[in-house]
């Protein structure tokens, strides 16, 4: 998934080969991860697709089934993986994930601890951020879940960046051999305050901790615990609103009259190329964006804190 291996790097020259993991895209809300295997076929409502036909094609290509239906074959990214992975637990999505990765200040070379692993949605993005020289140590107390996550990281090619441990972090804390090595710690636990002490021991001074909790009561208790060793304790909620775009018909007179607020502004800022496009479309139709109907609601609160730097 990651271009750390130059031969796997996405490029005009890189084509789909036997054994690759591809994301089969039917629609924006219907995708599936498939391991390409020369002798295998994919069957869906569009027909039967032979993997053998895919090999040698570029990523992003459109492929056809025996009866003319088609799908796209995409190179996997952590964002796509989040949409196709098998849910063994509730998972984190793009808005929370990207905010966490940024706020934890993860860059190549960082060491980050995570608990629990869950379905590995966040883990995949964490490893993208710290590759190629950093490492993610992720822990889950559920043995089968940890094993399934390990298999997933094998499939997505992240095994060298991620170590999955079976451990009850709330009960036992993080392993002592990681003491003082972590640049960042992420907690997604029912009682995060039980793990905060241990997390503090793992972090380098000024390292960042994030705790994800769905309920404000959990946040409050965590914040109280954090206050003794951490600074900059801040809690956020981040949501994502998507817009749909439609071409709508609009009365010519109305647009000329300048009733909709955006039109005059738009005209003012257009330069040659813009106005050319606009002329083709003006009067008869206009492109409009409006918020999508369904939006994901509350997922959880993100509480961040920095380990106090003791002189």
């Amino acid at each position: 998934m990651l271009p750390t291996d130059p031969t796997k790097k996405l490029s005009f020259k890189r084509n789909i080969s036997d054994g690759d993991l591809v994301i089969v895209y039917e629609k924006h809300d219907n995708m599936k991860a498939v391991k390409v295997c020369e002798k295998s076929v994919l069957e869906n409502r569009f027909g039967i697709f032979k993997h053998a036909d895919w090999i040698g094609k570029p990523y992003g290509c459109k492929v056809s089934s025996h009866k003319g239906g088609f799908v796209y074959l995409l190179a996997p990214t952590p964002e796509l993986w989040t949409l196709v992975l098998s849910h063994r637990t509730q998972i984190l999505y793009i808005a929370d994930i990207s905010f966490v990765v940024m706020y934890l200040e993860l860059i190549p070379g960082c060491v980050v601890l995570e608990s629990g692993t869950g379905s590995g949605s966040l883990t995949t993005s964490l490893s993208r951020a710290i590759a190629p020289t950093g490492h993610v140590h992720t822990f889950d107390f559920h043995e089968q879940r940890a094993a399934a996550a390990r298999e997933d990281f094998e499939r997505t090619g992240l095994s060298s960046l991620v170590t999955v441990g079976v451990r009850d972090i709330q009960g036992e804390g993080f392993p002592k051999d990681l003491t003082g090595l972590a640049d960042a710690v992420f907690l997604d636990l029912p009682q995060p305050w039980l793990a905060i002490g241990s997390a503090g021991e793992m972090l380098k001074p000024d390292g960042v901790l994030c705790s994800f909790s769905p309920c404000i009561e959990q946040v409050q208790r965590s914040s109280e615990t954090l206050a003794s060793n951490f600074t900059d304790i801040r809690t956020f909620e981040v949501l994502l609103r998507t817009y749909e775009v439609r071409e709508g018909k609009m009365d010519h007179c109305q647009t000329e009259g300048g009733t909709p607020g955006s039109r005059p502004c738009k005209r003012k800022h257009r330069t040659s190329e813009g106005s050319q496009w606009e002329q083709e479309h003006s009067g008869s139709s206009i492109v409009m964006a409006r918020p999508s109907g369904e939006a994901k609601g509350h997922t959880g609160y993100l509480t961040f804190a920095r380990l106090r730097c003791v002189a």
Binding site: L10, M102, S223, T235, R241, G261
Partner: protein, 376 residues
Amino acid sequence: MSTLEQENHSNENRRITWEGCSVLLDINDGDRLVFSRLTAGSIVKIGNKNYPLQPLIGCPFGSLFQVENGANGPCLSRVISTAEVSNDEDKKECDLKDESRDNRALIDNNTAQTLTGDDIEGMRRQGASGNEIVEALIANSATFENKTSFSQEKYRLKKQKKYAPKVLLRRPFARRFLRVDTLSLLLSFANVTAHSDVLVVDMIGGILTGAVAERLGGTGYVCNTYRGDSPSSIEIVRIFNFGDEINKRIVRLPLADLSAPPNADSKDMELLQASGSPVSMEETTVSSKDGRPTTETVASKVHKAAKPGEKASEDAIKLWKENGFSSLIIAAPEVDAWGIVKEPLATCMHNLQVEKMAIGLQITEPWLREYQCNLM
């Protein structure tokens, strides 16, 4: 384990300030944020006094400083934080007491404080510390005892900020600039990771370029492209404290040079088309646009170049023409048109849909809210 140790070492370097490095000074818990360069002569002004920044050199990022009256005038000195912890815990206790006080008897006639400005100045001259002044103010306040514990805490904090300001020494990280939620989404959707070649149109002063470079960690390239002759300013990149390894991965190239097809094969043509209307050539796969920075490159007002990255080398250009970029990010808000940001995006998305140039199109806008969960 060797990677761990190696990493440990290089991270250690990043965690301590050095002479000439950029820092972010957080004054009084985020009340004021100041970018500074740590040099022998640099100062920060707090209230009406200037404080030399010399004592901050060689300290770990995250260190806390308080003001003191030194032999050569006011100065910043590092706080040993253990004392503060126990203090906090004491406060907790009183928070939990039953609250029977309120402000029904409060008369706001400005007579509650018996200490005058001259008294405070006098204390200062005698060498009283900021915290001692705060305690004196509390002792001489006729109304303090009748305040609720929350209100008392608020009073203490307010006075502390004025008479005993604190300065936190922070690393300048990408997340410390502007809308962190927007920037983080851009980096995620664009799949920025080590060894990527990222093409950017950065018309927001270099924040985007710097943030991408931070994630590349001295591998791959971030190439800043622009229309016309003068590149947009990427002045902000200088604040990031990048070493040479990262700086040489930040390059610029006029769009014209990038589109020039000396040995155009079909792939190059794809690239050409793609850069004509804003979508990355890869993004036959996933093209995602963020709500905030708009794709309106057309009306580019190019500022006079400040100090951008070097011009991309011929080798790099050749490489990109052969392999393509891994992603394209455009952040080109119209300076005076934030109200209609969605409009150029909608047009862009519509064109891409109609021309069937991309799939997985999305216009998204993050929504961030901070909660007040603790009185600290």
